[in-house]
Symmetry: C2
DNA sequence: TAGTGGTCTAGACCACTTC
DNA sequence: AAGTGGTCTAGACCACTAA
């Protein structure tokens, strides 16, 4: 190619590096350069800088934790954490409301992996998210967050706490926070009464690099 | 730096290129190299290869369009498309169900920008998504998809069509498809009765490049 | 006018694969 | 042994900025 285009190897290699970055070719030592694609690959990408972005709440809300109990994990809960059924898990519960207006936003329940039960002493002292405190106190890092959104009905106690009518529809958001090794650190379940919260996502079509 | 580390400029420049790719420094012609950050920036990223990924339905479902009407846009609808109130907009309506079991999955309404009303002749001939047909027939490209998820109640007609009880909670997913120039091409509203669909998202913590 | 980052040439050695 | 991609040296010219 140097001869063919009358340029130095440096120039050819730079050009090839560009093609490689665009994912069009693959270069392998002592093997050669293989064409992988004729067009750059594209995809719809959504990015959040922090886990707080996934929380989606405006900065002006706060979670007021009013319940702290230890319970025996049922099948579903044990499954989430990949633990034996009957394992003792701590659950926090509380109301998230707008700090200014006091408007009740959602009811949140947070399940914490047994190893981190000690977290309770640190929770509620500041108004940072629980997973943030967990990351800090136990030197863990949230590597993955899985969200599940579904609809549900709000019944007796929950409806009362949120000051809504019995049988109101609600958006349920389940968040599962996992560490690098795959251990589920925390699971939160938030019920947002109809009209009090809309979950927004935006995806853009982009060319993928490297 | 060449002197300091006893290497050639090539080596220094390669190293600097790495730092630039990691976003740690910024290099500007005739100005110099400026340190921008001490740690690589990271973010939670979610990727879909196709718009169908955003649809989230298993392959085994099909949309059966049973309604086609032209209506005058109200305030909200006109706002979505950035049109005058009263503009005539076409709306398709139909039931999405599992092809095998016939299980009714959701009720979907699709609003189409006036310019693309001609699309009606092409819709329903195959079972591809409407936005896909639109892209092809009018040579448009969906550049951005915005999703809004909320909870709502299903009433009379809708409940009947989905064969559920009056007053069942549902997950409403509003999708707004935009072209490169920002024009909203299509808006779809899907109501999924409680327990018939859960919307799943997964975000991973990654280092951002370039 | 000195210094910067960008671009490029010509040539060298290495580890590795394949014939 | 020939050929590949990776790494590196030494040196050159350019357009541009800032003192």
């Amino acid at each position: 190619m140097c001869e063919r285009f009358s340029v130095s190897r440096f120039t050819i290699r730079n050009a090839m590096a560009e093609l490689e970055a665009a994912g069009l070719v693959e270069r392998r030592k002592a093997i050669g350069t293989i064409v992988k694609a004729l067009e750059p690959e594209t995809a719809y990408v959504q990015t959040f800088q922090t886990v707080e972005g996934l929380l989606q709440y405006a900065a002006g809300t706060a979670l007021d934790i009013s319940e702290m109990i230890e319970l025996q994990a049922g099948a579903e809960l044990a499954g989430w954490f990949d633990l034996e059924e009957g394992a003792r898990i701590v659950r926090l519960g509380g109301l998230r409301s707008e700090t200014e207006t006091g408007r009740k936003f959602c009811w949140t329940e947070i399940y914490i992996r047994p190893e981190f039960s000690g977290l309770l002493e640190h929770v509620g002292l500041d108004d940072r998210p629980v997973h943030k405190t967990l990351e800090e106190v136990f030197d863990e890092k949230v590597q993955k967050v899985e969200l599940e959104l579904s609809a549900c009905m709000l019944s007796g106690k929950r409806a009362e706490q949120l000051e809504i009518e019995e049988g109101t529809a609600a958006l349920r958001v389940v968040r599962q926070y996992s560490a690098t090794d795959g251990r589920v650190l925390e699971v939160s379940v938030s019920d947002h009464p109809e009209d009090r919260h809309t979950f927004r996502l935006e995806f853009s079509y982009e060319t993928l690099v490297s």
